[in-house]
Amino acid sequence: MRAAPAPAAPPPGTPPPGHPSAAAPIQAGRGPADQVPAGPSSPGPSPAAHPSAVLSARYAQSFDIAVIIVVAGWHIAGAGSELLPYRALYRPFPAQFALWLVIALAITAGAVRLIRGLSHPAWAYALAAVALAVTIAGAAGCPPDQLLKTDWAWGTTGWVGVLVLLRRPLRELVGFLLLDALATFAVLAHDGLHRADVAGFITILAETTAIQLVVAVAARQLGATAREAAEVTQNEAATRERAVIAERLRAARQARWLALQETAGPLLRELAAGSANPADPEVRRACAVEAARLRRLMAESDDAPGPLVHELHACADVAERRGVAVDIETVGALPSVPADVRRVITDTAIAILTTAVSQVRVTLTALPEGIAVSLVADSPAPPPRPATALGVVVEHDRDYRNLWVEARWTR
C-alpha cells in the first residue's frame, strides 16, 4: 500500500482564510453589518489525506517490512548456515553459491516491488519461476545420499514465494509451495529413494512449509486489518472535517445574521412601537437598506455562478419592488471576486439602489486588472465618500440629474 504524502493541513479551529480584518468598508447607511465575517472562502483541509489516515497506511506497510526481514533473515542466517558448513560436499560449491546469490537478488527485487506497491503479477510469477529453478538446480548439486541434510535451497525458495506472492491470492502460494516440494522430491526420487528419505522429507515439509504458510496467512490477516483500520480512520477524519466546515459555515452565517440584528432589529422594534413613522422617507430608506442586506445575506449562501452579479440582482430586487427600473449589464468575462470584496461592492450598490428615484443602471465591466462596477442613478442621496478598502477604489460624480458611482477592484 502506498502512503499518500502528508498534507500541510491547518489544524481544525483555524479561522478560514479571507477572514475580514475588513478595513472600514464603505457604509451603506447604518453600519455594523459590514463587520461580519466574509463567509467561507476556503473549504478547509482535504479529508482525503488526513494525517491519521497516513499513519494507518504506514502501520499497514510495517507488516510488509516484517515479512521482508523474515525472508531476508532466513536466507542469510538459515540458508547461509547450511551452505557454508557443507561447502566441501557440493558439486561444485561455487555453483551453489551463485544460486544463493540469485535468490538474494530475487529477494531484493521482491522487497523493492513490495515496498513500492508495484503489483504486476508477471514479475511475481517470473521471480517465483526463478526460485523454482534454483530449487531444482540446488537440490541437483547436493550429494545424493545427503540431499535432505545439505539442501539449503528448498527452504529459502519457499520464503521467496511467500514474499513475491504476498499480494496474490493465497492459493497461488499454496500451489507454489507444492511445486517447490515436488521439485525437491523429484530430485530426491531421481537419486534413489530410501524410507528414511521419505520420512525426512515429510518432516521438513511439515516444519518449513507449514511455517511459511502460517506467516503468509498471518501477514494477510494483519495487512487486511490495518487497511481496514486505515479506512475507518480516514472516514472518521472526513466526517470530522465535514463537521468542522459545516460549523464554520454556520458560524459565518450566524455572525452575519447577528450583525443584521443590530441594525434591522432596532428598526423593526421602533416600527412596532410606533416611534418610527413609515411615512417618514428616512425610515422608508432605512427599511429598504435592511431589506436589501437581508436579500444579499440570502444570495450569499446561494451557490450561483457569477456570485457578484447574483448578489447585485438580489440587492436590485428591493429597488425594483419600489418601482425603480434597474438595468444590470455586464461586459466581458468577469473575474472571480473574493467574498469580502463583493461585500464592499454590494454595500456601495445598496446605498445607491435604495435611494434611486426611478432608475438605476448597474454595469459590471471586466478589466485587464480586475473589475469596474458602476451605478448611475437619479438618486438625491449624498454620494458615498471616496474610499479604498480591500483593493476597491470607490469614486463618484454627479451631474444635474444623475449620480455616478464606480467601485473598481484591482486583483
Binding site: V331, G332, D397, N402, E406
Partner: protein, 227 residues
C-alpha cells in the same frame, strides 16, 4: 439640417411601429418624415435602390433574424439603423460589420433612435451604449486597438454617464468625448468587410476632422499591433 429626412420602418410588431412613429413625431423640429412602413422584407423587393434616406430595420422579423439580409440592403444604397430587442455584443458587432450605421437596442429607442436616424442621414455615426458595450467587450483577434482615452470614454459612456459628465471626469470637452467615441466607431468601420456605408462614414469623418486619411490607412487590429 434644413431638409426633412425620410425614413422607412421595417418592423413586425404594430405596437413598436406606433412607438417609433410617436418618437419621430415628438421631435420638436419635425426633422424626420416616415414614408414607408413594412412588416417584412418581402415588401421591399426587388431591392434595387434606397427606399428612403434611412431604413429603420428590426433585426428580428416574424421570429427570424434577418442580419444576413443586411449587406444586400446596404449594397443597394440603404442607410440602415438596426433596431432590436437583442443586445448581445457579438450580434451588435456583426450588424455594424454588415454595414449598419448604428445599432439601437429597443430600450434605447426613446433616447437615441431619432438621433441615430438623423446621424445616419448625414453619414455620421451614432454610438449608442449598446454599441459601446459591444466595443468594450470585444476580445476577438481582429478587434481594432483602441487608445486608453478612447476606451475610457467608451467605458464611462457605457456605464450611463452623459457625455458632458464623461468630459468633466476626463477633464476634456464634451466635443472631445464625442470625438474619442466616434474614433473608436471609425476603427470598426475601417476594419472587416467592405461596405458602401462604411466608406461614406469614413469619408464624412475625414471631412469633419474626426480622423485623417492617413489614420484610416494605418488602423490595424489589435492582433496585428506590434507588442
Amino acid at each position: 439640417m434644413d431638409q426633412v429626412v425620410t425614413a422607412g420602418i421595417v418592423e413586425d410588431h404594430p405596437v413598436v411601429i406606433e412607438g417609433i412613429t410617436s418618437w419621430i413625431s415628438a421631435d420638436p423640429e419635425h426633422r424626420i418624415q416616415v414614408v414607408l412602413v413594412a412588416h417584412d422584407l418581402m415588401a421591399l423587393e426587388p431591392v434595387t435602390g434606397p427606399v428612403a434616406d434611412v431604413l429603420i430595420l428590426d433585426l428580428e422579423l416574424n421570429g427570424q433574424l434577418v442580419t444576413d439580409q443586411l449587406p444586400r440592403l446596404v449594397a443597394a444604397g440603404n442607410r440602415v439603423v438596426a433596431f432590436s430587442a437583442h443586445s448581445g455584443p457579438g450580434l451588435v458587432r456583426d450588424v455594424l460589420d454588415g454595414g449598419a450605421y448604428a445599432y439601437v437596442a429597443k430600450d434605447e429607442g426613446r433616447d437615441y433612435l431619432v438621433e441615430a436616424v438623423l446621424a445616419a442621414a448625414a453619414d455620421r455615426p451614432c454610438v449608442t451604449r449598446s454599441q459601446a458595450k459591444a466595443f468594450l467587450g470585444d476580445d476577438g483577434p481582429e478587434r481594432p486597438s483602441l487608445s486608453t482615452q478612447e476606451r475610457q470614454a467608451l467605458l464611462l459612456w457605457f456605464q450611463g454617464m452623459s457625455k458632458a459628465s464623461v468630459g468633466r471626469r476626463m477633464s476634456i470637452t464634451e466635443n472631445t468625448v464625442r470625438q474619442y467615441i466616434d474614433r473608436a466607431r471609425m476603427k470598426y468601420a475601417a476594419l472587416g468587410r467592405p461596405a458602401l456605408s462604411k466608406d461614406a462614414l469614413l469619408a464624412r469623418a475625414i471631412e469633419d476632422g474626426i480622423i485623417t486619411p492617413r489614420e484610416v490607412a494605418t488602423y490595424t487590429s489589435a492582433a496585428r499591433r506590434p507588442a
